[in-house]
Structure formats: C-alpha cells, structure tokens
Amino acid sequence: MSVNTESSQSKKRLEGLLNNLALRWYLFKRKYSTFSGLKQLLLRIVMYLLVIGLAFVFVYPFLYMIVNSLMSNSDLNSSSVNWIPTELKFENFSVALDLINGKKTAEKTFEKFLTETLEADPDASMFKVRIDYVIRAIRIWFTDRKYIVNSTFVTVLATFGHVITCSFVGYGFARYNFPFKKLLFGLVILAFIVPTQTLIIPSYLTYSNIKWFGGNWINTYYPLIVPTFFGFGLRGALYIFLFRQFYLTVPKSLEEAARIDGCGFMKTYWKIVFPLAKATLVVAIVLSVVWHWNDSYETGIYVQTPSKQFLPPRIKSIISAANALPDQQQEMLRQLGLEDGEDTLNNAVVMAGATVISAPVLLFFAFAQSQFMQGIERSGITGE
C-alpha cells in the first residue's frame, strides 16, 4: 500500500517536473524565435562566454599556484600533466612551512629546559615545572612562527590606525567648514599623488634620528605603524577620501536630531555617524589589509633585522633553496631537521610557500567578500 502511494507520488512529481520543463521550453521558444529575440540570445551567450573567459584569465594565477603546490616531481616534469596532479603531495606544504619559519628551536629547547631544571633542582614540584613549560611552549611556538606573527601584528595595527583616523578626518572634511579647508584637502590629494619613494630617503633619515619612543626607529615597527594613526602611511590619503565621500551622503538631519537630544559632537560622531559607515569601513579594512600584507618596499627599507622580517619576503628563501644544487639542498634539509627525500625541493614547494603566504589574505577576503562587495555598491564612492 505504502509502496504504491510512494510510487504514485513520485510519478506525479516527475509529471509535474516534465510539465514544468515543457512550459519553460515553450516560453523559451516563444521568447527567442523572433529575430530580435535570437539576437538577444546570441548577445547573452557571447556575454557569458566573455565573462567566463575573462574569469579564467583572472583566476589563472591562483589556480596555477594551488595546482602546482600539490604536484610531485614527476608531475612537474611530465608534459602530459597540466592541471590535474596524478597524486596530491601535501608534504610540499610542510616543507614550505619549515623553510618559511626557518630553523626550529622548539623541541630541542624543551628537552634542554626540562633536563636543566631537573638537574638544578631535583625536588622542584612537577606542577611548577609544567606551568613554566607551558608558558615557554607558547612563547617558543610563537617565535618559531615569528614571520607570520610579525606580519599579522603590523597589518592589524596599521589597518586599525588607518580606519580609526581616516574615518575621523574624513568626517571633518565632509561636515565642517574651517579655515584652510581647501588647502588641507589639496594636501590630502597631494599626499595621494606623491609616491612613497620620493619621500623615503628623508623619512628614513628622520626616523633614524628621531628622539621619541627610545630613539632610532629604524629596525622597529614604528615607521610602519605610527604614520597610519595620523592618516598617512600606505595610501592613507585614499581612505580619507573614501570616508569623506561616504559622509557626504549621510543626511545632516540625523546629527541635528542627536544634537537636539543633547549629544555632544564627539559622541554624535562615535555613536551615530561612525556606525553608519560600516560598508565603507569594510572596504577600507580589506584594502588596507591587502596592501599592508603584500607591501615589501617600505618594510624592506625600514626593517632589516632578520628576526623582525615579514612573511611575504620569505618566499625568497624557498626560491633560493629550490634553485640550489642538490648537495646544498640536502644540507639545508638536514639543518631544518627534515628527512632528505629524493625530490623535496622543487617548484612545487615554491608554489606551496606562495600559497601559505597568500592564504591569510585570501581567507580574510573569503570572510569579508559579501560585505565588501555590498560596501562597494553602497559606499557612495562617486569620485567627485
């Protein structure tokens, strides 16, 4: 009985589906059977082909990177393997990570630490030793990944500075009249046009002779972070412009209502106007994060201490390892404490390193993309 009803139901469903398809086909025929309809259809097809073709061009570097990072040596050398590796080789990633992070200090230090403490004080309570152990473990875990930590630290702080200050200054330019407003806004535009490279030499000399924060800012992160809190830094002027354009579209009556309710001008800004700029905020954050993460010009000049380096330039160490002679490669692997395989250091490892380096930005964008695109549509950027 139940089987019967089920089969009849599925039959009905199938019929409905077929009817639906037939109707659609009929409508499709009617719509496109005329000459102009046909022309429209052809245009649409051409448009889709164009978009898909262009999308392929745009995704190509990404695909190339991912696919090559998973290839084994034989796949890289064979001419029949273009896109689909015969086997997925995930070891490339671990080798790349080890090359990026440099020499591992963690495990050896742990052993040393344990033996040392127990030798010095055999009666030490195991609990205390363990607490120390955990604290050290965390610290060492981070020092082993110092490049990732450095990059993240500077990117987050600089982006924070940009967003806070540029929105603030942009509001001033959008809402208030004050003496020299035009001149100051001209300065914003000029700051956007003047390349960093023109000012890098005097800036470098200034930072090296500065007196605040312990003097000599070279080889610290101050030159990268402090200017962003004053609306400068990496393309800071652009964000001021973006926020100004947005605040111009906010109706004034909102702030007037707040003022009538007894809200001071600072509070009005932080509690009422600033939250409205969420869409522009996302745009500014994404742009700032991507630019700061990928920047290697300013970072390369201001920070030269090896231990304070950033993640993206580390790809050079992988490249030099991949280009080295086989003997040297074995030596490098041994130094890193890796087993020496037959085909470990090749272009696949370089691409795996590239994937690791760009992964944080790609993941971040994956999370932010829907809001980012909305922000682009609604941010009121009209360029006037």
Binding site: F173, T206, F365
Partner: protein, 318 residues
C-alpha cells in the same frame, strides 16, 4: 590655543570651525610630521653640497645633483624614458579594459557576485612577492598560449613564422598582466556604475536611444568623475609600482651607494614629472567631467519655472 576666549563668547560658526579643526587635527599633525617636513628635508638634501650622516648636518647649496642627473649620468635619462613610455602605454589599456569588465560585471548575469569575487583574486595575490614569483615563471604567457598549437593549428603558426608569433605572444602576455593589475580599477568603475540611477537609463530608452548611444551619452558622462579618479590612481600606481626600473635605480643610489643627495634629486625630477602628467590629465578631463553643477543649473531653472507659473494665471484673470 583659541579656546582662551572662553567657549561662550564664541559664535556658533566659530565653534563649528573649531569642531572641524578637532576632526582634522590628526591629519594636520601627520601632514606636518610625515609629509611637509620630509618634503622640505628632501629638497634640502637634494641641494646640499655635503651631508654628514651622523646627526644629519648639511652644508652648502648647489644644483650639482640635478646637473648630474641630466648631463653627467648617461643611464638616468634612458631609464627615465623607458619607465615613462612603459607607463603611458599601459595606462590607457588598463582604463579601457577595466571599464569594459566593470560594465560586463554590472550586467544582469547569473552568478554576478561570484564573478566579482573571482575578478578580485589577482589583487589579493597582489603586486607583492607572490605575484612576482608567479610572473617570473612566465605564467602570463601561458594563459593565452597561442604557440602550443591548441588554439591555432601548427600549419598556420608555421606560415606566420616564429618572430611574429613571438611578438603576438608577448603582447598577449602583457595584456594579461594588465588585466591582473586592474582589480582596483574595476572596483572603482563598478562603484561608479552602481551610483548611476536606473531612471536615467529608462528615460533614455523611452526616448529611443540605442545601447550604443546610451553608453556614450549616459554611462560615460556619469562615470567621468570616477574616470578621473581612476586615471590618477592608475598613473600613480604604475609610476610607483615595485617593478619600476627607475625607482630601483634611485634606490640603489640612495641605500646601497649612500649618495643621498643625488638620489633625492633624481626622485624630485621624477616626482615633478608625475605631477606634470597628473596636472595635464586634470586639465584635459576638467572640460569633460560631469559635475553637480549641472544639478545646480537645473535647480535654478526650476525656481525660474515656478516663478513664471505663479505669475501667469494672475495675468489671465485680470
């Protein structure tokens, strides 16, 4: 400073001005510290006769560094010319291609959001080290590969000869790099296209305009401000990009050879050229830019119309 007078004695306008200054204050401090001071410092360095690096003491004034750039140094001007030609040939293509892509992405196609994200991926990989590494492997030539006999058969390739095909391949390669570098431009154009109100298009369609006419008479004027922003951005971006030869040249003088004053002089010559180009672009674009002035004119017209309509009925009643 000004608040000595007491808050109550200030007029509303003065108080608003002060509020505005409070908002812009971080920028003023930043401009003085990180922009204006380095600019004057840089000019001073470029004109200095002698520089002591310890303590930054400079003495004497000469134009020797500038003279050296133009007269003595034989490799500065050729490098300069290469960079300028490279940039000026690429930037119109960047603008046109990104406008076309932005228009395509603004059309009503399925999976539009998805495509928009895809077109942004090269920007995320960035002009940084990663993209540089990918470019070093000649990937941009592999994207539109015409030499491997898949798109065009070998016989035809043989007919054209290797040199022609190679140049075509190089052109394709640089087109692909231009496309990869136009993420922000596409984005800005998309924002501009989104801000055009659909009623304009409807009105044009009702008046019987073709798609082509709509493009030239509605879309282009409406996004012309964005076009200016985009052109300036592209110019500045490509003049200051990482793989710029001239900047590398200046950098070797500044940081490897420690000839600060010569490096500063060269970068000033370079910047003045960029400023000149941007100024020319501004001058040309100014004529064609659609601004809010048109709306102001319309407002004035509306006022005028109201005035005449009010007056007209009275006359008829008399």
């Amino acid at each position: 400073m000004k608040k000595k007078n007491g808050k109550h004695s200030l007029t509303l306008e003065k108080r608003n001005q002060l509020k505005g200054l409070v908002f812009v204050l971080p920028f003023i401090i930043g401009a003085l510290a990180f922009f204006i001071y380095p600019i004057f410092f840089s000019v001073r360095i470029s004109l200095a006769q002698e520089i002591k690096i310890v303590g930054m003491k400079m003495s004497g004034w000469t134009f020797d560094s500038y003279k050296r750039a133009f007269i003595v140094d034989t490799s500065f001007l050729p490098e300069f010319k290469d960079t300028v030609v490279f940039t000026l040939t690429r930037f119109p293509l960047t603008i046109i291609l990104s406008l076309i892509i932005a228009i395509l992405l603004n059309k009503n196609i399925k999976g539009r959001g998805f495509f928009r994200v895809l077109f942004f991926i090269p920007f995320l990989l960035g002009s940084g080290e990663v993209m540089q590494q990918i470019l070093n492997q000649g990937v941009e030539r592999a994207v539109l590969n015409i030499n491997d006999g898949r798109i065009i058969p070998y016989n035809v390739l043989m007919y054209f000869g290797a040199t022609i095909m190679d140049t075509v391949q190089t052109v394709f390669g640089s087109l692909v790099t231009i496309l990869w570098g136009s993420g922000v431009q596409i984005l800005l154009f998309l924002a501009g296209l989104q801000s055009i109100s659909p009623s304009l298009y409807e009105a044009a369609k009702i008046d019987g305009a073709t798609e082509w006419e709509i493009f030239w008479k509605v879309t282009i004027p409406m996004i012309s401000p964005m076009m200016l922003l985009n052109i300036v951005y592209t110019l500045v971006d490509s003049f200051t990009s990482k793989d710029n030869k001239l900047l590398g040249y200046i950098r070797t003088y500044g940081f490897s050879n420690n000839e600060y004053s010569y490096a500063a002089a060269m970068s000033w010559v370079y910047f003045l050229f960029i400023a000149l180009v941007v100024a020319i672009v501004f001058g040309i674009m100014k004529k064609y830019i659609h601004t809010n002035e048109i709306e102001e004119v319309r407002k004035r017209e509306r006022k005028h119309r109201v005035f005449t309509i009010e007056k007209a009925p009275r006359r008829t009643f008399e």
